[in-house]
């Protein structure tokens, strides 16, 4: 059964010593990971067997991840919705071709990235980005922060907006590489497998993307200062 991180933290007894608690924590995390893997495997088997409601469960489980990656790669909310929909349709269509030995997340990421590439190719004109003000307002109202936290939220929103704008300046492949590597925290090897290129190519793309993002941030800061 899936066990969230918060739940694992709560399970640790307050009277235990640090080392025991840490070991207990690690064991629980391993068990939670194994349970999560089992649960995912069972879900995939259910989808493979065309069990009623299984695909809906799969969508419920992966919708945020798929939407998040699509949104970051495309930089557009509406396109991200379309990409999410198209991704799940492709998953349903090509589920038979999925090898159960393969990592499902990697397979799903590959579909998402391919869908995003297709959409980016079809899309005309620059991506419509969220404005800094609207993002700041939405964060303030969403999280119900007090007046003390507004400054921190504003900084966070500024950073988010900055990254969003910086990502929009990158070519699609570089954007996909940096999103998978730095935001989704995948290894270079996994990113290379998802993008269908070599590790050295991915490293070059990531390096280029980081340099461009840093240059963008520097320019923006200099403009604000000046």
């Amino acid at each position: 059964m899936y066990m969230s991180r918060e739940k694992i933290e709560k399970v640790i007894m307050p009277g235990e010593s640090g080392a025991i608690a840490l070991q207990h924590n690690i064991n629980l995390r391993d068990q939670a990971g194994a349970d999560r893997g089992d649960w995912r495997g069972r879900l995939i088997e259910r989808v493979r067997a065309r069990e009623a409601g299984a695909f809906d469960d799969l969508m419920l489980h992966y919708q945020r991840k798929v939407y998040g990656v699509a949104c970051k790669v495309l930089g557009n909310v509406e396109d991200a919705k379309d990409a999410t929909q198209e991704t799940f349709l492709r998953v349903f269509k090509y589920f038979r071709s999925y090898d159960s030995k393969e990592d499902f997340d990697g397979w799903l990421y590959r579909i998402v990235v391919n869908v995003c590439m297709d959409l980016a190719r079809k899309r005309h004109g620059p991506p419509t980005m969220l404005s800094y003000e609207s993002e700041q307002e939405s964060i303030g109202t969403r999280s119900g922060l007090g007046s003390d936290d507004v400054e921190a939220a504003a900084i966070l929103a500024e950073e988010q907006s900055l990254v969003e704008r910086a990502l929009a300046t990158l070519p699609t492949r570089e954007r996909a590489a940096i999103v998978l590597r730095d935001i989704e925290q995948l290894s270079t090897q996994e990113v290379a497998r998802i993008l269908g290129s070599t590790q050295s190519t991915v490293r070059a793309q990531i390096s280029s993307a980081r340099t461009k993002i840093k240059a963008y941030c520097d320019r923006l800061q200099m403009r604000r200062r000046g």
Binding site: D56, F88, L89, I206
Partner: protein, 248 residues
Amino acid sequence: MNCVRVQKLAPLYAGKELSVRGMHSVALHARECDKCSNVLAQYAETSRIVAAYQGPEPDDVVFAQIRTAVHNEIRLSALERASIWQRAFLISWRTALAVACCVLILTAILVALRPHRNSAGRANLAFNGKSEGSILPSPSPQSLPAPTQDSDQGARKPSSAKRVWPGGHSLAHDGRWHHRTDEAHGKNYVAARIINDRSPEPQSNIRIEFQTSDPHIRIIWLTPHYGEPSESAKQASEHETEDQTGEK
């Protein structure tokens, strides 16, 4: 390691994607060089900001809409697939019906044009002298006219005539097969050859009539009658038989 090299490797250093040796070299240089250290710190900060980026997160209503749209699309595609199969079935059904009709018509035409089995069988039996209604016995070498010695055609040897077997296939095979062919066709073969070679005048015509099972069809066969064979024809036939046994 110089500053240019370190600043080039800085993006990868920030993501810890260099080798252990590369990481160590960059770190050593950064300890001594403030400028490079500053650049590395900036890259590290950028990486931290990028890693913290979460992107806009829609509410559950949007996800519900997406799921509904996916389900609708799946249902639509299933319906389309079903209609494609239905169309394919209809097309194949019509094609099959058309093909069956064509086959039936062709069969009917062939049956109508086919000669009556009984009449054909009786005619064959009559030719071989085995039919009840046959009048003419099967031709034998003895019944053939004698070849004339002064004629050019008559100067041919009987053995050379073997090569003129109708169909000509005996020439392309070995002797054994050839003899078998001669044995199989025997008398009729000799008779046909000598008739063709000599072209004698028939003494009279014989009329043979067959009444088929169909009362409207009657087969009438007119054939020339050559009379009794002469002595020279008998000799030629004997010579022919000797050649055949000699070849065997």
